[in-house]
């Protein structure tokens, strides 16, 4: 195929064939119009005109509806994109989205994410369910008129199939279509929802009930055929309510897929646990605690472990988790092995002053001491304690020159400003340094901690 550069650029410049997330009915016309750079009215008119040819337009429309993916979510661009210039639709993020992503089977049955995130659900401006309901009501009235007319003529069941039977069928079909739309499409729409769905259903039940009564009133002369016609509205009512069964079934199959994935994941976890994690542990043992190889192996082990076991759960940002992550980062940068132990449940947030001071203390230990560093966090109801203990050469706070602000400013003064306390003292047996940070609910705490620590020295 000889495509010239100019042609290629035209092809590339064309926005992808996607349905906008916010649309009038289904977004097919709007999506086509954006793709072809035609006015949307023209596309709609074309569909209408084509429909006159044995319904070709309708078939084409349904075909597009089934196959055209919905545009991927972009922040701030959930609105109607028709008016935006092509360049906006051409941004790399948009082009970079592979079509496979939109066609991903997990994506096709979208509800898990769409149901959780209202912004992600496509919205439809036209109240399609109500329009269909209204047409169903009109059709019901027309059927009634036809029944009354034929009754006046005295030929209720005379001809093989009286004309109003098709009215019954059309009304039922419309009602079912409205119910399906309300359940399967409008339910996820943030602008509508369950209440809208219930209202549509109640209306449709009334419509079909009247239809049933109507058919029943004429069926005395109809025999078996009339009985089957009378069944249609009843089946319709059943279909209206079974639409929520479809939703249930979809949910079940999603749940099953999720469970299978979870099983596969844990199978893989078991396998990796038995092979890779063991090997990484062995590498750490053989390579010596603070060697480069051991550090890399430890970092790899940690990453693998968190991928295996934490899964998709969002990481909470409490103090122990935060300090653990920070320790992992420090281990990569410094020849240090950090052991972070936490007891109790801490309500202290990772963003607090205590966390900042603790990170500073850990950084100090990693930078100046190295080797094994122990971090212990104890969170009680009224106070939180953090101990950072290293086995380095150690230093006394008094010996640090005043121009070195690290410890004095970022740990001790910071804790004091925040209403806590920090003490820096030599570690047990005079080996290394231990930093004790305390943060409590009551104001007297700081003083009492300082006293206790002083008494120990």
């Amino acid at each position: 195929m000889a495509i010239t550069a100019a042609q290629a650029s035209v092809l590339a410049a064309r926005p992808p064939l996607r349905r906008p997330r916010s649309s009038l009915v289904t977004g097919v016309a709007a999506g086509l119009a954006t793709h072809l750079a035609w006015p949307v009215t023209l596309v709609r008119a074309l569909f209408v005109v084509l429909s006159l040819f044995w319904g070709a337009g309708i078939l084409l429309y349904l075909w597009f509806w089934a196959l055209m993916p919905v545009r991927a979510v972009e922040d701030g661009k959930t609105g109607d994109d028709l008016g935006t210039p092509p360049s906006a639709a051409l941004d790399p993020a948009d082009l970079g989205t592979p079509p496979s992503a939109a066609l991903d089977p997990a994506d096709l049955d979208k509800p898990p994410s769409a149901a959780l995130d209202p912004a992600a659900a496509p919205t439809h401006r036209a109240p399609v369910a109500w329009i269909l309901t209204t047409v169903a009501v009109v059709s019901l009235v027309a059927t009634w008129v036809m029944v009354v007319a034929s009754a006046n003529n005295g030929v209720t069941w005379a001809s093989p199939v009286p004309g109003w039977v098709s009215g019954v069928v059309v009304t039922t079909a419309l009602a079912v279509a409205a119910a399906l739309w309300a359940t399967l499409i409008d339910r996820r729409d943030p602008a509508r929802g369950p209440r809208h769905e219930t209202a549509v259903r109640v209306t449709l039940t009334v419509v079909l009930g009247i239809l049933f009564g109507l058919v029943l009133s004429t069926s005395q002369q109809g025999g078996a055929f009339a009985f089957f016609v009378a069944l249609a509205p009843l089946l319709g009512i059943a279909a209206v309510y079974s639409s929520s069964l479809i939703e249930k079934w979809r949910e079940l199959s999603r749940e099953r897929v999720r469970r299978i994935r979870e099983e596969q994941r844990s199978e893989m976890a078991a396998h990796l646990h038995d092979s890779v994690l063991q090997t990484l542990a062995l590498i750490q043992t053989r390579a010596g605690a603070s060697s480069e190889v051991a550090r890399i192996a430890r970092a790899q082990e940690r990453e693998l472990r968190s991928w295996l076991y934490d899964g998709d759960e969002p990481a909470d940002s409490d103090l122990p988790t935060d300090l653990r992550d920070y320790a992992a980062a420090l281990e990569l940068d410094f020849p240090v092995h950090m052991d972070v132990v936490a007891a109790g449940t801490s309500t202290e947030r990772a963003s607090g002053e205590l966390a900042a001071a603790a990170r500073e203390a850990m950084l100090n230990a990693a930078r100046h001491a190295g080797g094994d560093v122990s971090v212990y966090i104890e969170g009680a109801a009224s106070r939180v304690d953090v101990f950072v203990r290293d086995r380095g050469p150690g230093f006394a706070l008094e010996a640090v020159p005043p121009d070195r602000l690290g410890v004095r400013e970022s740990i001790v003064a910071r804790m004091r400003r925040a209403g806590g306390a920090a003490t820096v003292r030599p570690g047990a047996g005079g080996v290394g340094t231990e930093v004790h940070l305390a943060f409590g609910a009551d104001a007297h705490l700081a003083a009492s901690i300082a006293r206790t620590d002083a008494a120990r020295d």
Partner: protein, 223 residues
């Protein structure tokens, strides 16, 4: 380390031959590896036959049935046939659930597989001498599980569900990374007293019926 006349006789139970040989190469000559096993059944046989002083026991072993880990299965089967043997659990992870399960099944302590040969040797000697081996992580878990953080303190000495004030102090220092000797210096007590406290805590850990412990132990997790 106390002078050892006879080398300590050790059996290594681990399903990874690479790890077994690595560990054997790392141990010094105060420790004599008299047997190895790779699964539950062979481990029980080897232990019953060799009657070692210490068994280095992997927490996760193939060959256990039901809801217990391989390490627990070995402990349950081997403790009655090797009454003088002490068990030191080896775990690839530091997860409290697993560790608590093997300790409640009868292990005298645990170390992670990332520990160096020296650390393993030291732990083996400690266990052989009748002491418990606590890591900082386990000490933190014990403080948590016995309600020490929430301020619960045992009043009677024979109370199983809470720690005494002294035991809490010892556990806190271990959690902060102190060795037994450092704990002793810090609290102005002898190392022997520290070891007594740790053993007491280990006993409580094994015998207590505190809800948190059983909940942890029954939550079967791979980690």
């Amino acid at each position: 380390m106390p002078p050892v006349t006879d080398p300590i006789r050790v059996v290594i139970v681990d399903d990874h031959s690479i790890f077994r040989s690595g560990l054997r190469a790392d141990l010094d000559d105060t420790i004599d590896v008299v047997g190895e096993a790779a699964d539950v059944a062979s481990a029980v046989t080897v232990i019953a036959q060799a009657q070692p002083d210490v068994v280095l026991l992997d927490v996760h072993l193939p060959g256990s049935d039901g809801d217990i880990t391989g390490g627990e299965a070995v402990l349950r089967a081997a403790l009655p046939v090797a009454t003088t043997t002490r068990f030191l659990a080896l775990s690839v992870s530091d997860a409290a659930e697993d560790v608590v399960r093997v300790i409640r099944a009868g292990a005298r302590g645990y170390i992670t597989k990332g520990a160096s040969g020296d650390e393993v040797a030291r732990a083996v000697h400690a266990v052989a001498g009748g002491d418990a081996v606590f890591s900082p992580r386990l000490a933190g878990f014990v403080l948590d599980a016995f309600g020490a953080v929430a301020g619960e303190t045992a009043i009677a000495t024979d109370e199983l569900d809470r720690l005494s004030a002294r035991e809490q102090e010892v556990m806190r220092l271990i959690a902060r990374g102190y060795s037994y000797k450092e704990v002793a210096t810090e609290l102005f007590i002898s190392v022997k007293t520290v070891e007594t406290h740790v053993s007491a805590v280990l006993r409580k850990l094994q015998l207590s019926s505190r809800h948190e412990l059983t909940a942890w132990a029954s939550a079967r997790r791979l980690l």
